[in-house]
Amino acid sequence: MSDDRLDGLSVRDVRVSFDGFTAVDGVSLEVPAGDIRFLIGPNGAGKTTLVDAITGLVRATGSVRFGDQELLGRPVHRISRLGVGRTFQTSTVFEELSVVQNLDIAAGARRSWATLARCRRGIPDEVAAALETIGLAGRADQLAGTLAHGQKQWLEIGMLLVQDARLLLLDEPVAGMSHEERDATGALLETVSRDRTVVVIEHDMDFLRRFARSVTVLHAGRVLSEGTVAQVQADPRVQEVYLGHPVDAGSVPSPLEA
């Protein structure tokens, strides 16, 4: 892509409270440039809220830096223009626009009003490249609302690519996907992480084991454990959170293997 800078994400002591309930309670984590970091944790651990805080959707205290830019305190669209892109648990493509139109809009946040006033002629290069990467080149003119579930998720990732996001925050990208679609999505993540930093919220442990480069476990708004897949799997605190009681190493299969 046009911007070849590779930046890491640095989250320091981030707190988010809603009316006295603390959803994220002092989370600090470092995602090095080019990582594929998985965020896991039980429901209510604060994973999505943390991503909401990073992208400016909810107010937070602390510090979130991407590269040398502080993100907290900026409005959503400004954070997006710094190269931070995200997807949502429910896919939110523009259903009444075609695949190409979806991608073209995603590519255009820096366009001038004069460009916006004109019609699109053909397919811009970056959109064509993204169509190839996400495997939807054959469906360019199809309405996004008529795509299969998995294809919508890929379209969302494609929109992040043309948007020139250098940090991708994906909220459960493989939920509801078939095995083949999961494999394809994993391969896609590996491709895009060559020149981008990727953070994935995911419940699917098989997917995690295959594609995560590092894992952070959140629990009750705090970081419980962090490390490689093997390190996290071996952490007794993680096992306790998932099983409700600590286990003797080896006696019970790790929850992450279930």
């Binding site: 626009l97 699109r120 064509a128 095995h179 394809a184």
Partner: protein
């Protein structure tokens, strides 16, 4: 197993298949069709209607076409942008009053005062805010720019605070009510409930002369076609696609790095400008502008026409507006008491059973026909 997947993302950069190569819309035919459509519309408005209709009916059509201009704007703001604006009467009124003020001053002659001011206002001289309207160079641009400026001010306040949906609709309607109250309260300088009436001339032409009435009709028809061309450009531009995206998922657009407030603001301001222009041309066509023509009821009537015709299409709002305005004249002549109920019923039926408006019937019929072909 992988063969089962419909289209797995390919990591290799294989060349794009030929059928999706750049230029998704083959040029020739698709550019000819709108041109043919405009030619047909122009022939209808400029040749058929003046020949087929009496002077009286043509003057009525001129009035309907003004309503249609408002409808074109609502089609953009509501149909494409999702902003249900129940207060377009405000902008229609601003344009109309700006034009009527100029024409009243022109009728009164240099240094003269409009008749009603001496009658109700007992004023000795023209109020300060009337004076610039004596100049056509101020008044004519003001008919469009004044509504646009008001829409800009209001829109900047409202859209940034993320007021939308029903809240926006109610707010815009309240604005229409407020404007009417203001106009009626300032009877001495605005003509109050009567409005500005008895307008005689239009830039030196006597409006009682049928020939000049015809000229006004042709101006209105020409402006409507121009607004349609503008609306078509807006809808087909990248901005038009972006506007639909904002309508369907404002939050998502924000995460792509746009400010949806400015996207909506542009559509709202454009719609206000169109309503202002419509109001300005309504005055020479009908000879009057009054609070009753711009308040809550007419504001809702504008929207009903758009809903009936099909808000998300280009021509739907125009045809719907003309049809509803015509039905109103035809039916209220015969059943003066029941028309309002009929109109309300029509709105409910369309919104409940045909949300795409009459324009969607055509698409529906085409889909049926295609399906029938497949089954054979």
């Amino acid at each position: 197993m992988t063969a089962v997947t419909p289209a797995p993302p390919s990591t290799a950069g294989a060349p794009a298949p030929a059928d999706v190569a750049p230029g998704s819309r083959p040029g020739g035919r698709s550019r000819l069709r709108p041109a043919a459509g405009f030619a047909f519309g122009a022939a209808l408005l400029f040749a058929v209607a003046p020949l087929a209709l009496s002077d009286f009916r043509l003057a009525l059509l001129a009035k309907y076409l003004c309503v249609a201009m408002v409808a074109v704007g609502i089609g953009i703001a509501w149909g494409r942008g999702g902003m249900l604006t129940l207060g377009q009467g405000v902008f229609f009124g601003l344009g109309g009053y700006a034009m009527a003020m100029h024409l009243k001053l022109a009728d009164a002659g240099p240094g003269g005062m409009p008749d009603f001011m001496q009658l109700y206002g007992q004023l000795d001289e023209l109020p300060v805010w009337w004076r610039p309207f004596a100049s056509p160079w101020f008044a004519l641009p003001a008919t469009v720019l004044l509504p646009m400026a008001v829409a800009f001010g209001l829109g900047s306040l409202v859209f940034r605070r993320r007021v939308r949906g029903a809240y926006f609709a109610i707010l815009s309607q309240a604005l229409a009510a407020a404007m009417v109250i203001l106009l009626i309260g300032q009877q001495g300088t605005t003509g109050g409930t009567n409005g500005l009436t008895d307008i005689q001339g239009f830039f030196g032409y006597d409006l009682d002369d049928p020939v000049n009435q015809r000229m006004v009709y042709f101006i209105i028809a020409g402006v409507l076609l121009a607004l349609l061309a503008l609306a078509r450009q807006i809808v087909h531009s990248r901005y038009g696609e972006l506007l639909v995206a904002v309508r369907d998922s404002e939050e998502r657009v924000r995460f792509l790095g746009y400010d949806p407030a400015s996207v909506k603001l542009v559509a709202y301001v454009v719609a206000a400008g169109m309503a202002g222009l419509a109001g300005a041309l309504f005055v020479p066509a009908v000879g009057i502008i009054s609070p009753a023509l711009i308040g809550i009821v007419p504001s809702i009537e504008f929207v009903i026409g758009v809903a009936v015709g099909g808000r998300a299409t280009l021509l739907g709002p125009v045809l719907g507006a003309v049809a509803v305005a015509w039905a109103r004249t035809a039916l209220s002549e015969r059943f003066p008491g029941t028309w309002t109920y009929l109109q309300g019923l029509l709105f409910v039926v369309v919104v409940a059973f045909l949300p795409g408006g009459l324009a969607s019937l055509w698409a529906l019929a085409r889909r049926r026909a295609e399906r029938a072909e497949v089954h054979q």
